[in-house]
Symmetry: C2
Subunit: 292 residues, 2 copies
């Protein structure tokens, strides 16, 4: 297992972690500068932040700083109420792939979607099995586009508390079942993103990480589960402030041969988003060494 | 599948559903009277409500009304920081068994506990595997007491969002693995409580309900998952107000041969607990017929 205590060579910052400091959006170019100034070597940007800052400007800044990407957030949202919705999602996912290629991302992270319409509070139906079937079809179709671009897709199972509105793939086992069905040859074109926040509770986690193996384990995200958790979406904790044994989890991940970045992704409306962005990044670096 | 549209013969009210109406505790004896007045045939009382009203008075009132129980809430909390904590939990669980016997409950529902200390915000450690091992030991020990009393234990898998602080048994598969390990002969002394709120998201749900079968399926709870859900604990929805396909789920449950009560258990601080208790019960009856 790699020693993370001496330096933060393998720390990546998911840019949502510092997206709106003290109530104001932190522009992605500022975030990239702040990361580079701290010798953070990698980031994983969100699409809306890329669009707000301008794709070309972001690509130039990434190159100028010599930054790598640990992923691109995000594609997916495959579930739909009608054919127009399905086609729009496909088009948008293709654009996400193109952006990921331009920025040099190693994979496009997929948040697959929940019941169609649920994110706006008006679910079209209650049939989660139908939504899951649409996800499988959507990934199968997008996989062709991904192979053309040699840009792997990483299915991110989300915590079951997001099953209705964000992602109906909710365990690593379920995500790997999809991978096996759609890419039985383990070509490397399809895999998973393992986010500690979403999967830490799973009694089958160690076994499923082993099942994923090097070919399927495309991204590794860390943060912490707080006690109490006061918001379902935006109350994630800084590593070390919660109950997840991140070092044990990293051990399981690295036992597969994974040797990439540990990406910090924290949504925290009431705490970390209220602080100075530099302070947040400095804390990420510190906790990366002591808790990851 | 039974027809629930014509009457509410198989409705049971978990008494937490009307525990504190408009900010004031509704005494359990009042709750029993209000249920009986509506021809509700069964309840599942919580221990703290029983203790507040007095065990003997509750037993007398239940008999006087001819009410049945669909369960007794709750035993469990097996995880501990030291031997004294373990022994105290064992003693308390034995008392819960005795109360359940006195009240004529068909099973004692087990919420197994999370990381020790986590419910008060001070987890003793981060080792959920150790907590799970304590749960297995605790159930194994209590099973002897339960067999003596001929009072079955029903392990209730809780939603993964409660893994840290309330229950580290988080899927039906995991609960059934415990049953298989501790009662391989399917004696009927150990089974599960299937609560729609906790398990609806699970892609393996139908298969695991089938695996449970008649011998292991001891209780069936219903409510709904709201969009959005604004509180992790006390924002459950009335049946029909959320995204759970309760009729499909009941179909899976009844396909095992289950022919018992569907028990309504709703924790709802901001909505149903703010209404008149009679209105809540009337709504439960109505939705039982249309949505369960």
């Amino acid at each position: 297992m790699r020693d993370f205590s001496a330096d933060h060579r393998w720390l990546s910052i998911n840019t949502a972690t510092v997206r709106r400091q003290r109530g104001q959006d932190w522009n992605l170019l500022q975030i990239l500068d702040a990361c580079a100034a701290r010798c953070i070597r990698a980031v994983s940007p969100w699409r809306d932040q890329v669009h707000a800052a301008g794709l070309d400007a972001v690509a130039r800044t990434i190159r100028a700083h010599g930054l790598e990407l640990s992923g691109y957030c995000r594609g997916g949202m495959f579930t739909y109420g009608d054919a127009a919705g399905r086609d729009a999602a496909r088009d948008d996912n293709r654009r996400a792939l193109d952006e990921a290629c331009l920025l040099g991302a190693p994979c496009l992270v997929l948040v697959v979607g929940g019941l169609p319409g649920a994110l706006t509070g008006r679910p079209a139906h209650q049939d989660i099995a139908r939504a899951r079937a649409q996800v499988a079809e959507g990934i199968a179709a997008l996989l062709d586009d991904a192979r053309e671009r040699r840009l792997p897709l990483a299915i991110e199972p989300l915590h079951p508390m997001y099953a209705a509105d964000r992602a109906c793939v909710n365990t690593l086992e379920q995500a790997l079942d999809l991978c096996d069905a759609l890419d039985p040859g383990r070509s490397g074109a399809l895999g998973v993103a393992v986010d500690a926040y979403h999967v830490w509770w799973d009694p089958k986690l160690q076994a499923q990480i082993g099942r994923a193996g090097r070919e399927r384990l495309l991204a590794f995200h860390v943060c912490d589960w707080l006690l109490p958790t006061t918001d379902l979406l935006e109350d994630r904790g800084m590593m070390g402030d919660g109950v997840i044994d991140l070092r044990q989890l990293r051990g399981w991940v690295e036992a597969t041969g994974f040797a990439g970045y540990a990406e910090v992704e924290i949504f925290s409306r009431a705490n970390w988003w209220q602080r100075d962005g530099g302070e947040v990044l400095d804390t990420c670096i510190e906790r990366f060494g002591t808790c990851v």
